[in-house]
């Protein structure tokens, strides 16, 4: 009797049923771990605003639904629809330039009937790697020089459109997601080293494209103390929050920087500083570990994927997720400029929760549609 219960329980984790509903139990478990931790921090960061936490839960639930829905879709359909999606979203991005709505001088959304708004650049984060992966799906790897140029061409256009909105953070992530595909496709190391050598020139070019406020962010990053009450305030306060947290933190709800509002945007982009202040380096370590768990699973799914398309797409999405996390923590802790990237699945709000959950839907689809061996 006892034996059979255990067996049945084991059989649950063991595969067949989960595979049937296209759920990767390890991925979903580590995601839920991350999400639970994130909600916990959000409760503190929002000033114990239960309603805000509820709204976040709702958003995550929607994200989870999108994730589970996408998981049902076999990867081959995704592959087939990739070029059409890419063209469609690119057209929408052009549309944003002309008809977009937004706030604070940035024009990022398309207005939909019924008062809804839609951010094409967010979808591009997924569609870009789909497109590049599709491009390589029936080509032999590693890519030729000509193919590299084609791919770079595909990447540059949407990235410039998004940068123009302006939305530097998203455009960088979109670029990165495309480049990751290129890298996983076997881009020659000499190209990579060459690009690294050319980075300063690229940086200068980028600088020319930047808006004043974006340049200001970079300048402030280089020397936050130059403007302690203005644009340097955020980074000084977040470093203070993190540093004062110490090894073990000040305790849940005890962070003075966060609770007394010295930390700006504590529930959105700077939420990691709240964790760092209240739970110290230890808490941050656990969070980063949870991310690494998700990423490890993603990379595993990629490595064991059945075809090039799935492999490249899964790898790129996973690595982009990591970049998300790295850029956020890097900027909050003062080793990267403040580019406005939320901490994925933990920061409050944003369309990004849905798109991120969608990427995990794609990953689960890739994992669960593998032919049984």
């Amino acid at each position: 009797m006892k034996d059979s219960i255990y067996r049945r329980a084991l059989s649950f984790t063991n595969a067949r049923l989960w595979k049937l509903v296209h759920i990767d139990i390890l991925l979903i478990a580590s995601l839920l771990l991350l999400i639970a931790g994130g909600l916990f921090i959000l409760y503190s960061a929002s000033g114990q605003d239960v309603e805000m936490v509820e709204r976040q839960v709702f958003r995550l639930a929607v994200g989870l639904l999108v994730c589970l829905a996408l998981a049902q879709l076999p990867p081959k359909y995704m592959r087939r629809s990739s070029p059409a999606l890419f063209i469609f979203i690119s057209v929408l991005l052009i549309g944003v330039l002309f008809f977009g709505v937004g706030a604070k001088g940035a024009q990022r959304w398309l207005a939909l009937p019924g008062g809804l708004r839609f951010q094409p650049s967010e979808i591009m984060k997924i569609v870009m790697p789909m497109m590049i992966a599709w491009y390589f799906s029936d080509r032999q790897l590693p890519p030729s020089f000509k193919q590299i140029l084609v791919v770079l061409g595909l990447i540059v256009l949407p990235v410039l459109l998004i940068a123009k909105q302006p939305d530097l953070g998203t455009s960088l992530l979109v670029a990165v997601s495309g480049i990751f595909v290129l890298f996983l496709a076997g881009l020659g190391w000499r190209y990579i080293l060459g690009a690294a050598a050319l980075a300063p020139i690229a940086g200068y070019t980028l600088w020319q494209f930047m808006h004043d406020y974006q340049r200001q962010r970079v300048l402030t990053f280089l020397n936050p103390e130059s403007d302690p009450l203005g644009s340097g305030w955020n980074i000084i306060q977040s470093k203070t929050a993190i540093g004062s947290g110490g090894l073990y933190g000040k305790g849940f709800l005890e962070g003075t920087q966060a609770q007394l509002d010295f930390l700006p945007e504590s529930h959105t982009d700077f939420i990691i500083a709240v964790l760092a202040e209240e739970f110290g380096m230890l808490g941050c370590g656990v969070l980063i570990l949870a991310y690494l768990l998700v990423i490890a699973r993603g990379l595993y799914i990629s490595a064991t994927a059945e075809d090039n398309y799935a492999r490249l797409l899964a790898g790129s999405l996973t690595l982009t997720f990591f970049v998300y996390m790295f850029v956020n923590i890097g900027m909050v802790s003062g080793i990267l400029p403040v580019v406005g990237v939320p901490l994925p699945l933990v920061s409050y709000g944003g369309t990004s929760i849905i798109t991120i959950m969608a990427t995990f839907g794609i990953l689960m689809s890739i994992q669960t549609h593998k032919r049984a061996r």
């Binding site: 080509r139 076997g186 929050a241 540093g243 007394l260 760092a276 380096m281 941050c284 990591f322 790295f326």
Partner: protein
């Protein structure tokens, strides 16, 4: 589409290629994660102390709580400087988003003048603690208070604060003695502990208020509070209560002060009364005064201009800084100097003509009495105020003995123990003249000084304290305002010492001089014989100080002169002569005849000695006199 290689493709090799890249990526991810952890380690472990301090600096603020200021009482417990609660409209600039909007909103509620806004804007730019409220309009009326209170909820950064302000109930007669507090300037803050004065509304500027600032202020309370990023106080972490300032009890008699002020009438002038047994100042009057309440919250430009431009100089403290020729009131001291150094004796007789000449053909120094006084002695020189006697005496002595002797009575020095800003007057000497005019001292200079004219200048406080020394027969007290500080006797720390005896070679000269001064009143030729008829004995000496020099043969004619050129009228006196309780110096500027200060002194003696003031001064009686 490009060429297809499908036939030649090695899928396993392509898979392995990507897998290798994935391994490289995984290592990269690991490396970056380690970099993040290293960064966190740097911030949270290595630099932890630095950021802990920064976080505490952020949230912990020291709030200073101004202590209630000590009160100032007169000798009968009449409150001369009081604390009063007022309601002020204050603004915390940090909490205001849009000042022009706020201006509009407030103007719809109560009236706020442009000047008040300008003043507020000026102070907003000065040094101040962040999140400290600034007063926009002080002393709201009850009606204004009610109006603002209703709308307070929608006026961000605006509050009505109850504060203690300083109030001087008896106004201008006391302004020069008690002084006033005024708005704290950045210059004031250089001399005090800035932290302690945060939140203080004013600081002692002049008079007793200025001199005893530290004592009256007390010790500020300090509370350590936790604030949020907007400066709102969330909780109190630690607290040290303020120590109230100590009360001062002055020697001043409020009724005497007010009475003396009123008795000066329309004249400008000064009256200083001293208790010879203590050196305590009973009255310190400088007329005209001004309303010290104008200064408490910062005087308006217009009010200040009126005071500053008044020809009567109401802001000028004549008692402390007025430089007057002591005129004939110097004669008793001059006589004592002559006796001390053997240039004069009580018995030696002198023929007083209508003038004195140093050389037979020299300039004639005229006596006030054209016909002269005939044969006189020293005592009579006092009674009749014989100028020629002192011309010759001063000429005989020369300036050095005069200088040395008068110095012992406090002339030429700032001798008042507890008020700032006293003038030294001028007790001339050889050295002084050489330094000032690069000329030697001439005999003629001494002659003028002999009757308290010429180079000699003294302040009312100096003459009064010298008079007090005469009254006490040489027991010298430095004059002082304050009797007790809190519950303790006042202690003075300016190195002058407290009291001492002026010892003459012949100590009997004190008594004889008092007798002579007594005869100034009782003698039929006494210059103050108008003061006869009191039940107690007054000793005194008159004086008329020249405002401009008469030519040798010019007659002084009061009627034909403009009032501002009339002689100053002076009187020194004390009573009762045998055991004086009060000594007085009074000067009516351009008063012409010394009868005015003499009459004033008598009225004050009457009132003080019999505690018999006109009924109109009952409000200044204080509780010590009741019953």
């Amino acid at each position: 589409m490009s060429r297809r290689h499908q036939n030649f493709r090695n899928y396993r090799q392509e898979q392995r290629l990507t897998q290798h890249r994935l391994i490289a990526a995984a290592l990269f991810v690991l490396l970056m994660a380690i970099i993040l952890m290293a960064r966190l380690f740097y911030l949270q472990v290595i630099e932890h102390d630095l950021y802990q301090t920064k976080a505490d600096d952020n949230r912990v603020m020291l709030v200073t709580e101004p202590p209630p200021r000590g009160l100032i009482y007169d000798r009968n417990d009449v409150i001369l400087a009081d604390n009063r609660p007022i309601h002020s409209l204050t603004i915390t600039p940090e909490r205001v988003d849009d000042f022009s909007q706020l201006k509009k909103q407030l103007s719809g509620i109560i009236e706020i003048s442009d000047a008040e806004w300008e003043d507020f804007d000026d102070r907003r730019k000065e040094y101040r603690r962040p999140y400290q409220s600034l007063t926009l309009k002080s002393q709201l009326t009850d009606e204004e208070w009610a109006k603002v209170a209703v709308d307070l909820y929608r006026l961000d950064g605006v509050q009505v604060e109850a504060q203690l302000t300083r109030y001087y109930p008896y106004g201008e007669a006391f302004a020069h003695a008690v002084g006033y507090v005024g708005r704290i300037t950045s210059k004031d803050l250089e001399t005090v502990d800035r932290q302690a004065y945060q939140g203080a509304l004013f600081i002692g500027k002049t008079g007793v208020e200025g001199y005893y600032e530290k004592t009256l202020f007390g010790e500020a309370g300090l509370s350590k509070v936790e604030v949020n990023a907007r400066g709102r106080i969330m909780s109190e972490l630690d607290r040290q209560n303020p120590t109230p300032g100590k009360d001062l009890h002055l020697f001043l008699d409020a009724r005497l002060q007010q009475y003396a002020y009123d008795l000066l009438g329309d004249y400008t002038g000064s009256v200083v009364a001293i208790d010879p047994t203590t050196g305590g100042i009973l009255a310190l009057v400088s007329k005209p005064g001004y309303d010290p309440n104008l200064f408490v919250r910062g005087i308006s430009y217009d009010d200040y201009n009126v005071l500053r431009q008044s020809k009567k100089l109401p802001l000028f403290n004549r008692a402390l800084r007025g430089g007057y020729p002591p005129a004939s009131t110097i004669k008793p001291f001059m006589a004592l100097a002559g006796l001390e150094y053997g240039f004069a004796s009580w018995t030696e007789r002198y023929f007083a003509k209508g003038y004195y000449q140093i050389n037979p053909d020299g300039r004639r120094y005229r006596d006030w009495k054209r016909t002269g006084h005939g044969w006189i002695d020293l005592e009579r020189s006092i009674i009749e105020s014989v100028d020629t006697y002192y011309y010759q005496l001063a000429n005989k002595m020369g300036i050095t003995p005069i200088h040395n002797f008068l110095t012992r009575f406090g002339f030429g020095q700032s001798n008042l123990l507890d008020l700032n800003g006293q003038s030294n007057g001028l007790l001339p000497s050889n050295e002084w003249k050489k330094a000032k005019y690069k000329e030697p001292w001439y005999p003629g200079d001494s002659v003028n000084v002999g009757i308290g004219q010429g180079f000699m200048v003294a302040t009312p406080v100096q003459i009064a304290s010298a008079t007090s020394a005469l009254a006490s027969r040489g027991h010298y007290f430095y004059p002082r305002m304050t009797n007790t500080v809190g519950d303790d006797p006042a202690v003075f720390e300016n190195g002058l010492g407290d009291e001492h005896d002026i010892v003459l070679k012949d100590q009997r000269n004190w008594e004889r001089m008092v007798v002579a001064m007594r005869k100034v009143i009782t003698d039929s030729h006494g210059t103050a014989r108008r003061l006869q008829g009191t039940e107690y004995e007054i000793a005194g000496k008159t004086g008329t100080g020249q405002v401009f020099s008469l030519q040798e043969d010019q007659e002084y004619d009061a009627d034909s002169l403009e009032k501002r050129l009339h002689d100053h009228a002076l009187f020194i006196g004390f009573a009762p002569a045998k055991q004086p309780k009060i000594s007085i110096f009074a000067i009516f500027e351009n008063g012409g005849s010394s009868s005015k200060p003499a009459d004033l002194s008598r009225a004050l003696f009457d009132a003080y000695l019999y505690d018999d003031y006109p009924d109109r001064y009952d409000y200044l009686k204080g509780n010590k006199n009741e019953g």
